[in-house]
């Protein structure tokens, strides 16, 4: 009875990978712990270890094959221990059919979603040559360009240098800029956030990476009490030009302590700039702006977007203005305001609604503080209906703030109540079905629009 070796899932978000290299050949005996193959994902090359003992009888996927779906049989092993092998193999086949197969547990829209027509960014001139890059690369390029431009800029955080970033955002920076400017820290968020803040006060331009913003809670005192307030308290003498960046919001199946959106937290603090981009061009242009900015910036990225490819201006110094929203899709019946990963969902919802004859305008806030009220209110004046789509909790959310603005400054334009579509108001559950039910999605956004557009 042969044991089927399947393409393993090596990260929470992996759906397919490249079988880069076989380190064994047919006929080889393997034992638990032997490295069988090297597998490449968008993040990294990983080693695939044997768990069972036996002889490789056939290799069914040759090395160098791209796009091998998780779960595909890549080789067969004849086991030495009949008992153990008959147990493992057939069950593995059934397992793929259960409702927790990875493709079903992805909370985010997959590539099958029709690409919505995206309105070009007013800040990017028409006719600009574009190139396709992942969000991850765009962020790295932004840091690299700013580091080349200004020696005061340095990057500090856990695993940013030798490991090339826990999510590979800082890939290659150590090679180019060396250990003076790309600095691995111990796991001491409070300490290195403070060191970064002090360095900024002293005249440097730190980019402090939090492995995820969940861990920035260890350091939030420095972000708020030290970085955000010094300019004010010193009567404008002491600046703090620092960027705190890293992934924010829910990832996939990582549970309550690792899945939360801090945009509303930081957006409530005067003295901070809060940026949370959706696509790669904005991420690049706004990160460059953030690094040049004289004020402390909290820059909230999204892990689930890191691997997505977008168009980015191919050449030139692509710097975008902080504090400007962007109309991602024009519409006339309703406005959907969102930011970060919610923008993709809102665009997907707008596409569905278009099929039903509802024309939705989608606004990407991009900067959460200071908030571009004018773009929101102008759109409201046009559509007279507005909802906010936000991957986060509803209570005291960015959505709550937008609703307040619409009440205070757009009341006469409103033909329906402003609504929020968010995650459920609970800590993030781990189970695949519960997580899916908890997260915002395009259907929930479209349903909400249908309620207010009659």
């Amino acid at each position: 009875m042969a044991i089927e070796l399947k393409m393993p899932a090596l990260s929470p978000t992996m759906e397919e990978g490249t079988l880069a290299k076989w380190l064994v050949k047919e006929g080889d005996s393997v034992k638990s712990g032997d490295i069988l193959a090297e597998i490449e994902t968008d993040k990294a090359t990983m080693e695939f270890e044997a768990v069972d003992e036996g002889v490789i009888t056939s290799i069914t996927v040759p090395e160098g094959t791209d796009g091998v779906k998780v779960g595909t049989v890549i080789a067969l092993i004849a086991g030495e221990d009949e008992e153990a092998t008959t147990k493992a193999a057939p069950k593995a086949v059934e397992a793929k059919a259960t409702p927790t197969a990875p493709e079903n547990e992805q909370p985010t829209p997959t590539a099958t979603a029709a690409p919505a027509p995206v309105k070009s960014d007013p800040a990017t001139a028409a006719g600009t040559a574009m190139t396709s890059v992942t969000l991850r690369e765009a962020l790295r390029d932004a840091m690299a360009e700013e580091m080349r431009r200004d020696d005061r800029v340095f990057v500090m955080g856990e695993e940013v240098a030798e490991y090339q970033g826990a999510y590979k955002v800082t890939q290659g920076l150590l090679d180019e800029f060396g250990a003076r400017r790309v600095i691995d820290t111990p796991i001491t968020e409070y300490g290195f956030a403070g060191i970064g803040t002090g360095a900024a006060m002293g005249g440097l331009r730190p980019v402090i990476e939090f492995m995820t913003f969940n861990f920035a809670m260890q350091a939030i005192d420095h972000i708020i009490n030290s970085a955000a307030k010094t300019n004010y308290m010193s009567g404008g003498q002491m600046r703090c030009p620092i960027v705190f960046r890293g992934p924010n919001g829910a990832a996939a199946r990582v549970g309550a302590q690792h899945s939360q959106n801090y945009a509303p937290w930081y957006a409530s603090v005067p003295g901070l700039i809060v940026i949370s981009p959706y696509d790669a061009a904005d991420a690049k242009g706004l990160l460059k702006a953030a690094i040049r900015c004289e004020d402390p910036v909290v820059f909230l990225e999204n892990e689930l977007l890191y691997g997505r490819t977008f168009e980015v201006p191919a050449e030139g110094d692509h710097v975008l203005p902080i504090g400007r929203a962007r109309i991602m899709r024009e519409g006339t019946d309703v406005t959907i305001v969102s930011y970060s990963i919610g923008v993709g969902l809102a665009l997907e919802a707008a596409e569905k609604l278009a099929g039903e004859g509802i024309s939705a305008e989608v606004i990407d806030l991009r900067t959460i503080r200071p908030l571009d009220k004018a773009t929101v209110l102008t759109s409201l004046a046009k559509t007279n209906r507005l909802i906010v789509a936000e991957e986060g909790w509803p209570t005291c959310s960015v959505g709550s703030e937008i609703i307040a603005i619409c009440m205070e400054e757009g009341f006469d334009d409103l033909d329906a109540p402003v609504m929020r579509v968010t995650n459920e108001d609970v800590p993030m559950p781990y189970a695949a079905n519960l997580e899916k039910a908890t997260l915002i999605n395009a259907d929930k956004i479209a349903d909400c629009v249908r309620k207010i557009v009659r």
Binding site: G33, K96, E105, Y163, P186, V426, A431, L434
Partner: protein, 356 residues
């Protein structure tokens, strides 16, 4: 393949008495390897093997997409949990750890089925599928988790110890954390208070030599981690965490000290993780040879096997044990794959205890 020399795992000798002389204070006794009976040793072996096979199975289920998110395996570190927890009194002493928690739960005799079902996110899981790999708890065993934020469990553990002292229940808290976690500030705030208030706690640094991709000496100015409590007057002992009898021996000394009201002890367990930090670790920070040489020279299960052989326990007997364990683990995987997902109404339960 040419073997590289064994990576040095064993502690330096005489370090404890050196420090004692320097500090001129009473110190716990120098630990000696535990003298286990044949039955006890067989039980250690069985439990370590259960953890190893359970974790290998969890790794497989992850590869099949049945387990999601982060999944941190305990393979290589088995002797630590078994050596220490076998010395505790279940129901009286408490245990707390980080996200690499499957082994500590198994060591406390918690049912493998409900652990595996938590990993697959099913209703029968120990947290009803709501916690996952990093967030598992069993208050009935006084096992307090399962925490995802590096270092948090150290302060929480000191709080559990505070509770033992407050209630005067004779219990001790065992708080595990990693070499990486040992750099977090709250660890030192907790050390200070724990010693100041003579809390009954054993701080255990599981020094597996890496925090993700960062080796101890790249992150720690004092890389002899057992000394990290000395400036708070917490006695520290470095232990060969790959040898279950050495670990158990150290546990005895630490428990004597703590139970007699002398305050906390810090145990640095020199150990090693064979697998990546989590499932998605490219592991470029160490060589395959390094991992292989630890496996070949210091494996805790092989080491225990050698002790058993000295006591006249043969391969045959161990083969039977191995079969039993494979059955338990396969059954837990069956259970975890076939038991139903939680009901959707569970999204909203357990947020608060009371209704308002």
């Amino acid at each position: 393949m040419a073997k590289t020399p064994a990576k040095k795992i064993a502690p330096k000798k005489a370090s404890v008495s050196e420090d004692a002389a320097r500090a001129n204070r009473e110190r716990p006794m120098e630990p000696v390897p535990y003298k286990a009976s044949k039955e006890e040793l067989l039980e250690f072996y069985r439990q370590m093997l259960l953890i190893r096979r359970f974790e290998e199975k969890a790794g497989q289920l992850y590869g099949l997409g049945l387990i999601g998110g982060f999944c941190h395996l305990y393979i290589g570190q088995e002797a630590v949990a078994i050596g220490l927890q076998s010395a505790l009194t279940p129901g009286k002493d408490s245990v707390i750890t980080g996200y690499r928690d499957h082994g500590h739960m198994l060591a406390y005799g918690i049912d493998p089925n409900v652990i595996m079902a938590e990993l697959t996110g099913r209703a029968a899981g120990i947290s009803k599928g709501k916690g996952g790999s990093m967030h598992m708890f069993s208050t009935s065993h006084k096992f307090y988790g399962g925490h995802g934020i590096v270092g948090a469990q150290v302060s929480l553990g000191a709080g559990l110890a505070f509770g033992h002292k407050y209630a005067n229940d004779g219990g001790v808290c065992l708080a595990y954390f990693g070499d990486g976690a040992s750099n977090q500030g709250q660890v030192y705030e907790s050390f200070n208070m724990a010693e100041l208030w003579k809390l009954p706690i054993i701080f255990v640094i599981e020094n597996n030599q890496y925090a993700m991709g960062t080796s101890v000496n790249r992150a720690s100015s004092e890389d002899q981690l057992y000394r990290r409590g000395e400036s708070f007057r917490i006695p520290g002992i470095q232990v060969d965490g790959m040898d279950v009898l050495a670990v158990r021996g150290a546990a005895e000394v630490a428990l004597d000290w703590v139970r007699s009201g002398k305050g906390p002890v810090l145990l640095e367990m020199k150990t090693y993780r064979y697998r990546g930090h989590s499932m998605s670790d490219p592991a470029k920070y160490r060589s395959r040879d390094e991992v292989q040489s630890v496996r070949d020279n210091s494996d805790p299960i092989e080491g225990c096997k050698a002790y058993l052989a000295e006591m006249g326990v043969g391969e045959d007997q161990l083969k039977i044990l191995e079969k039993e364990i494979r059955t338990i683990v396969n059954n837990s995987a069956d259970f975890a794959e076939t038991s139903p997902e939680p009901d959707l109404s569970e999204v909203y339960t357990d947020v608060l205890v009371e209704q308002y």
